[in-house]
């Protein structure tokens, strides 16, 4: 109770509060003076023990017995709290001077305390030590608003008089204004794309996904229209606007490196693949194969993470909701989701339903209802009520056709030169093939630990298909290594001698004739450095200016090489790494001096010059030696699946229709190594050719069916 104000002692005049009782977790005091009403709580040393914080300024929350929170700032040095709503509490509870109030610790980590008036009675409040107190907050104030901890650091500086030069303060302000001003209509990601000519349909897609589809969409443009670019634009836009931080991209394993490179070179984004990360949770930008992400080792970790954006490439692999793939992707927690596929329907309309169910469950109602409403009885790929279906799909799917984009797609012209090997080359080829066929199943054993392994044998076969110079170089290294110290060694030496004795390469001669007939820039691809060295020497001796590109060059050297080719040099001789992500569309002629057995690599070579952005028709010149494995491979790819005339991206879809667990290259290797003779090999290649033709036909059927569904044609 307050004494008469005329006779108040010094202690009574002081705003510091006298503690009535105290224990580890609480204290009670008699409230006095106007300080509290004005929002101030002064702490004496006893009370300060209940606020054991290190910072000069910190936030503290008081919860009153109506569960209303009161936010205060504690000035440790000066020993007081300031809170604007103490007065409200005072009035609500009709607190008077002299009333006893208790402050009780609820949660030290959250810096939360209970504030109670004890009806004027001096009652000791005790909280049993160690008892957990449940924090219940039902606030009338807006709990959706929070403040950065950083704010108090700014205040602390002001309180302490730690002023900085204005240029520093204004620089921070400028940064925030830049970042805020960036929320404009224009896509920010466009400003920092490299080597990307973005087309209207791509920009339109990006805007539509962000503005209308809330970041969840099926990107189903036809092949060759740049779905990856669209996904990249959306991804980068979300990152730049701060709307996404944690991103996961799931792709087939074979495309991981390609995605990584494209994102880096075109969008300046560095993604890590699953081999480069220690912890899925710690890495913000990750790209992985679906199989890796859903593996037993990683699945539960990935499912626990809250992603901002998930991109699934080749999403048609999720067409069956009963598969682990579907269930896994459906279980990933993500705010935004992009699914990319040029073929959302391959065999059955239900596949489309299953894809949409991941994006927006219930959008197409249930399976049964979807079947009843939209499936035609005669053909699972054809819809009824297609107009209504298209309307519903417009809220979740974006699909552009090449015909709709008004983009001029240049033609690919293919010129194949079948070359007859010189007699010495032909003999070497036969000897080597025979050698490989006999040795292929002779694995290294404990008696013969230094047998050549299968990969090496296949490599020798490929080297021969490239050039005798590449073969000679490899054989030389193998012999010099002293590893093959058995009868193989004698055979290898014989082959090496034969290779060295080959005077002229027929393919080389044909190449020179071709180059002499052209009066423009040419890219020549080869798989092997040995062949590259030979070609460069031959061309330079003939007076041509040659730029040389391979994986051994440093980044700076690579840049310079491309610039030289763009500038003064007429010919670029490159290994497979050539031009990745670089704009080589100023060149229109490409020569495949040798052919990889993996058609995707051939596609990638062609894609350096024939892609969106190329305005002129391109010419692809293939060199292959008759009656060699390369000639059979070329026939398969050219005649059976029309590889060189496909739109970029179609090849993979066609190969996918083979439904084989082995890649095409693996199938080819098996044919080469398991055929007892040349005739048997030819027959097997023919069978493979038939399968590829069928795969192409299936692809064409699917394309047509989709035209009917999505465009009513």
């Amino acid at each position: 109770m307050m004494t008469n104000s005329l006779t108040r002692t010094r202690a009574e005049k002081s705003p510091l509060i006298k503690v009535e009782s105290r224990n580890e977790l609480s204290f009670t005091f008699q409230i006095k003076g106007k300080a509290f009403q004005q929002g101030y709580l002064f702490l004496n040393p006893q009370m300060k023990e209940l606020f054991p914080f290190n910072e000069d300024l910190c936030s503290v929350t008081f919860i009153d017995d109506d569960e209303v929170p009161h936010s205060a700032i504690y000035h440790k040095m000066r020993g007081y709290m300031v809170c604007l709503t103490f007065n409200e509490w005072w009035e609500k509870k009709k607190v008077c001077e002299g009333d006893t109030v208790s402050i009780e610790l609820i949660d030290l980590a959250a810096r939360t305390y209970r504030l109670k008036v004890l009806n004027g009675a001096m009652v000791k409040t005790t909280v049993p030590a160690g008892e957990n107190v449940e924090l219940r907050i039902a606030s009338v104030s807006d709990t959706s608003i929070s403040y950065n901890e950083h704010n108090l650091e700014v205040l602390r500086r002001m309180v302490k008089g730690e002023f900085s030069p204005f240029r520093e303060t204004s620089l921070i302000q400028l940064g925030e204004e830049l970042a805020a001003g960036i929320c404009s209509e224009e896509l920010l990601s466009l400003k920092t794309c490299f080597g990307v000519s973005t087309y209207f349909h791509q920009v339109q897609t990006a805007r539509m996904v962000m503005d209308k589809l809330n970041g969840r969409a099926l990107l189903a443009d036809e092949v060759g229209l740049g779905k990856t670019i669209e996904a990249g634009l959306i991804l980068k836009e979300y990152l730049l606007r701060g709307m996404a931080r944690k991103v996961l991209i799931l792709t087939p394993a074979s495309l991981i490196t390609q995605w990584q490179q494209e994102l880096k070179t075109k969008f300046d984004l560095s993604f890590k693949n699953h081999l480069e990360i220690n912890d899925w949770e710690d890495s913000d930008l990750v790209i992985a194969s679906l199989d890796t992400a859903k593996s037993q080792k990683n699945q539960s970790t990935v499912q626990k993470i809250k992603y901002d954006l998930l991109i699934v490439d080749e999403a048609h692999k999720l067409k069956n909701r009963k598969t682990k793939n579907w269930k896994f992707v459906n279980s990933i927690n993500t705010k935004y989701l992009l699914m990319l596929t040029a073929t959302p329907i391959q065999n059955d309309m239900i596949e489309l339903f299953n894809l949409i169910s991941i994006l927006k469950p219930g959008h197409l109602s249930t399976v049964q209802k979807f079947k009843d409403d939209f499936l035609a009885e005669r053909d699972k790929r054809l819809p009824k009520n297609s107009t209504k279906l298209r309307e519903m799909l417009a809220d979740i799917m974006i699909r552009h056709r090449r015909a709709d984009t008004l983009i001029k797609f240049p033609q690919r012209y293919v010129h194949t030169h079948a070359v007859d090997l010189n007699p010495d080359e032909a003999e070497l080829y036969r000897e080597l093939t025979d050698f490989i066929r006999k040795r292929y199943f002779t694995l290294p054993t404990h008696k013969n630990p230094r047998g050549i392994n299968r990969l090496t044998l296949i490599l020798l076969q490929k080297l021969m298909g490239s050039s005798t110079h590449a073969l000679a170089k490899a054989l030389d290294k193998m012999i010099a290594s002293n590893f093959y110290k058995d009868d193989f060694d004698h055979s290898l030496k014989r082959l090496l001698d034969m290779a060295r004795n080959v005077k002229h390469s027929k393919k080389g001669q044909v190449l020179m004739e071709i180059v002499r007939s052209l009066n423009e820039k040419v890219i020549i691809f080869t798989q092997f450095r040995g062949t590259q060295d030979y070609l460069v020497k031959m061309l330079e001796e003939d007076g041509y200016s040659v730029a040389v590109f391979n994986g051994q060059l440093s980044q700076v050297e690579k840049d310079r090489c491309i610039e030289d080719f763009r500038g003064s040099k007429q010919i670029l001789v490159s290994t497979e790494s050539g031009g990745e992500g670089r704009n080589l569309q100023f060149c229109k002629v490409l020569v495949n001096f040798d052919l990889p057995w993996n058609p995707m690599r051939i596609e990638q070579r062609i894609g350096r010059i024939h892609r969106l952005g190329q305005n002129e028709d391109v010419h692809i010149i293939n060199l292959s030696a008759r009656d060699t494995i390369e000639s059979y491979v070329l026939e398969l790819l050219d005649k059976k699946i029309n590889l060189f005339r496909l739109i970029i991206g179609e090849l993979e879809m066609i190969l996918g229709n083979m439904h084989s667990k082995r890649t095409l290259e693996q199938i080819i290797i098996d044919i080469v190594t398991m055929s007892p003779n040349q005739d048997a090999m030819k027959r097997k290649f023919k069978t493979l050719g038939n399968k590829l033709e069928k795969a192409l036909q299936t692809h064409n059927d699917i394309t047509q069916a989709q035209e009917e569904i999505f465009n009513g044609e």
């Binding site: 608003i145 704010n151 030069p165 921070i172």
Partner: protein, 306 residues
């Protein structure tokens, strides 16, 4: 870069190389040496360079880094002295010929709104310590440096303010929250609407699925393998319930409103003011109990704002 201790040099025209201290390397993706340019054409030619320009990721990272640095400055107006605005007590004042610097405090805030979509807005609150007037404006406060200096004029005192900076900050926050209230309410209503719409579609879908499964279960009892099939259907129904819970939680999280307020920086603006003799504090219940507090750096007892 100076502010975080990064040294740099121009190694070629338009191309810079910066040495990153170990403490900052993690932030800059592990780079020890960062080569960068502000010129897009250079960056296109030399793909090993990092581009800093509007829309570049690196610029965003730099701005993020800057935002972590707390900064406060003070500026002194070069304008002629003026009479201070009246305080809340409307009484006759005696004006003296003393001129002193009167402080006003600018709090620059960044407000992030998040409810599915995310946007940021900037506000400034200018607090006049003499009149307790707090005004909230859109955008950060722009100082015209032609009107200010970082050093005070000789001979002019910095006036005492009876305002507690912490209280002033809290009042600024309160004012800001008041100005945001309608926007937050609108956003919350939108979020609630979206959440319930999405949930409605999803629940209808789940209910329909459950209904179909139950129908299947009825039919199954006529078959020999009905135990196994029934079990399977029960499992599917349980899965639907799990999915319902998960989706509900996801939707609530996605459409809940979150507003985060950050103090970008603060500037104390000192304005030359013609002195007003301050009245002596009266010993009444209306007395504003707010003594001035000294800073810890050994200043004489004055307002924390000095």
């Amino acid at each position: 870069m100076d502010m975080v201790g990064i040294s740099r040099r121009e190694c070629e025209p338009g191309i810079w190389a910066a040495k990153i201290p170990e403490a900052e390397q993690a932030f800059f993706n592990g780079f020890e040496v960062l080569k960068f340019t502000f010129d897009r054409e250079q960056a296109e030619l030399h793909r090993d360079l990092e581009l800093i320009c509007e829309g570049s990721f690196l610029l965003r990272k730099i701005i993020e880094k800057l935002a972590e640095l707390p900064r406060v400055s003070r500026l002194f107006s070069l304008k002629a002295p003026a009479v201070p605005p009246q305080g809340s007590a409307h009484e006759l004042r005696v004006v003296s010929d003393n001129v002193y610097y009167r402080p006003r405090v600018v709090f620059n805030f960044k407000v992030q709104f998040e409810c599915d979509q995310r946007r940021e807005k900037l506000y400034s609150v200018l607090a006049d310590t003499a009149s307790d007037i707090l005004g909230v404006e859109d955008g950060l406060y722009n100082v015209d440096m032609s009107e200010f200096s970082e050093t005070p004029q000789e001979g002019m005192k910095i006036g005492e303010s009876n305002t507690d900076i912490l209280r002033l900050y809290l009042q600024a926050c309160q004012k800001l929250e008041e100005s945001l209230a309608s926007e937050v309410t609108e956003l919350r209503e939108w979020g609630d609407e979206q959440c319930s719409e999405n949930l409605k579609v999803f629940e209808a879908y789940l209910d329909e699925q459950k209904h179909e499964l139950l129908k299947k279960k009825e039919n199954v009892s006529f078959h020999l393998y009905f135990f196994q099939k029934e079990e399977e259907i029960d499992r599917l129904i349980d899965n639907l319930e799990e999915e319902r819970k998960r989706k509900l939680s996801e939707l609530r999280d996605k459409f809940s409103v979150r507003v985060k307020i950050g103090l970008v920086n603060s500037v104390v603006l000192y304005t030359p003011t013609v002195g007003v003799a301050s009245h002596k504090p009266r010993k009444t219940g209306d007395k504003k109990l707010m003594p001035a507090f000294a800073s810890t750096s050994g200043f004489e007892t004055r307002s924390a704002i000095q």
